[in-house]
Amino acid sequence: MDVGAIFQAAFALVVGLDPGFLGIVFLSLRVTLTAVLIAALIGLPLGAALALARFPGRAAIIVCLNALMGLPPVVAGLAVFLLLSRSGPLGPLGLLFTPTAMIIAQVILVLPIVIALTRQVIEDLWGEYRDHLRSVGLEGLRAIPTLLFDGRFALATALLAGFGRASAEVGAVLIVGGNIAGYTRTMTTAITLETSKGDLPLALGLGLVLLSLTLAINAIAFGASRIGARYAG
């Protein structure tokens, strides 16, 4: 197999605009970005609260969250699978083998990253601006919105780390989604399938498209934070 065949396959995918292929790309983006959005809505405030609050067992929670950043996707997938299976506790919802199941699994993977990195960012900022914030009457949890805003660029990187984790993983979405053609097939599960069919140029072509998408999203986020930095002075 030559390298040209890979680029040719990637090029054909993009130029051909095959509806099946576009569906796969949109589903990947939909699942991953929704998971990151949900993880951000929960993780940013929670991480900031964890940075400011003092309570017994806090250190243990921080260590656990840091460790969960290394949670194997296949384990998260299996846990969600057992929960959502018809024979599991949430079986009656009928969510197994749906995009929703994939989003749930990815939230579990992304959330620890968002919380742990947010906690670190906000704790550092709080150490730096504690006196100033206190002088304007912002203390405790009321300082969270200000600190989140001030740490927005570092936090954007935390979200991008979460996005990278979600968009690159295959273990969890394969188990809970089932890789159903036209319904739960994502870029990564399609790559797995094409590899097993021995169509390696197509598999790598898909990989190339996925990498380009990730690159584009990172570029947009970087550009956005640059523009934001200019306005915020």
Binding site: T146, R152, I220
Partner: protein, 284 residues
């Protein structure tokens, strides 16, 4: 430098705003008012059979078929848990056990093809071109030639284990470093065999549609013991009340009807027929 809260438009928000864009542009998932979930094998999926027959079924009935492709053992377990409406697999003994356990009321034969022994062109065991699969396996074991086993409780794995047994070899006890269980699907096993120069048992459909053959060729074929039968079963609602018993049965009916059987026979790659319908055959 502390910014005022009313200016608190997070830069991260811009990134998240992309989510909205992506969501808005995402085509409505083909949620299909009517769909069934079918647990099937890697061979029916990887060979492209489903891509050929499912659109025909949908055009006729309006039912979308969502296929989860797994090894036969895993597919049966998926159905046992109630996560599929229909199973379409190839390991007769395991299927009959499934019926016996009450998870289905009826197993129906659908089609067959055959297994082939794939091996490297160099043929280290010297079995290429022979017709006796049992003798070939004995030779491979004697010469300790590399052999890749699926090792995943799939239909092909079950067939392979049975052939060792017929050859009088207790593979669990007599396997050496030459016998490599990879615990993966058919395509992955072929990829691995190609890379290691090993022999491997494959269903013919996956082999014909496989694109990364490298130095691999068919070593042994045409032995009656390499017969590979596929059967379909709809899941018994007595075990899982939520299963779509009517639509599931419609699919099983269609597969075994003259129309479904013709659709199966019509599927060809490079002029080669991959599966041979035999729904009417008693005892298949």
């Amino acid at each position: 430098m502390i910014a005022l809260p009313r200016r608190s438009v997070l830069a991260a928000g811009l990134f998240l705003g992309l989510t909205g864009v992506a969501l808005a542009q995402a085509p409505a998932a083909p949620s299909g008012e009517r769909f069934i979930t079918v647990a099937s094998t890697t061979s029916t999926q990887d060979s492209g059979l489903f891509n050929h027959i499912l659109p025909l079924f949908k055009a006729k009935t309006g039912i979308e078929v969502r296929v989860i492709s797994q090894g036969t053992g895993q597919a049966l377990d998926t159905a046992r848990r109630g996560d599929a409406d229909v199973v379409f697999v190839h390991a007769r003994a395991q299927e009959l056990k499934f019926v016996e356990e009450g998870f289905s009321t009826e197993r129906r034969p659908v089609m067959y093809n055959d297994f082939v022994l794939i091996g490297p062109k160099a043929d280290p065991a010297g079995v290429a071109g022979t017709k006796d699969i049992v003798a070939a396996l004995k030779t491979i074991q004697e010469k300790a030639a590399p052999f890749v086993s699926r090792g995943d409780k799939s239909g092909t794995h079950a067939a392979e284990l049975n052939l060792w047994k017929v050859a009088g070899i207790d593979i669990a006890a007599q396997k050496g470093p030459w016998y490599r269980e990879i615990g993966q699907g058919m395509g992955a096993a072929l990829n691995t065999s190609g890379a290691m120069g090993a022999y491997v048992l494959s269903d013919r459909a996956t082999w014909i549609s496989f694109k990364n053959r490298g130095d691999l060729v068919i070593s042994v074929e045409g032995d009656k013991r390499l017969f590979n039968q596929y059967g379909v079963m709809s899941v018994n609602p007595a075990k899982h009340p939520h299963v779509k018993v009517n639509d599931g049965k419609l699919f099983a009916d269609w597969l075994t009807s003259p129309e479904g059987q013709k659709a199966i026979a019509d599927y060809k790659i490079d002029g080669q027929q991959l599966f041979f319908p035999n729904a009417g055959q008693a005892g298949a």
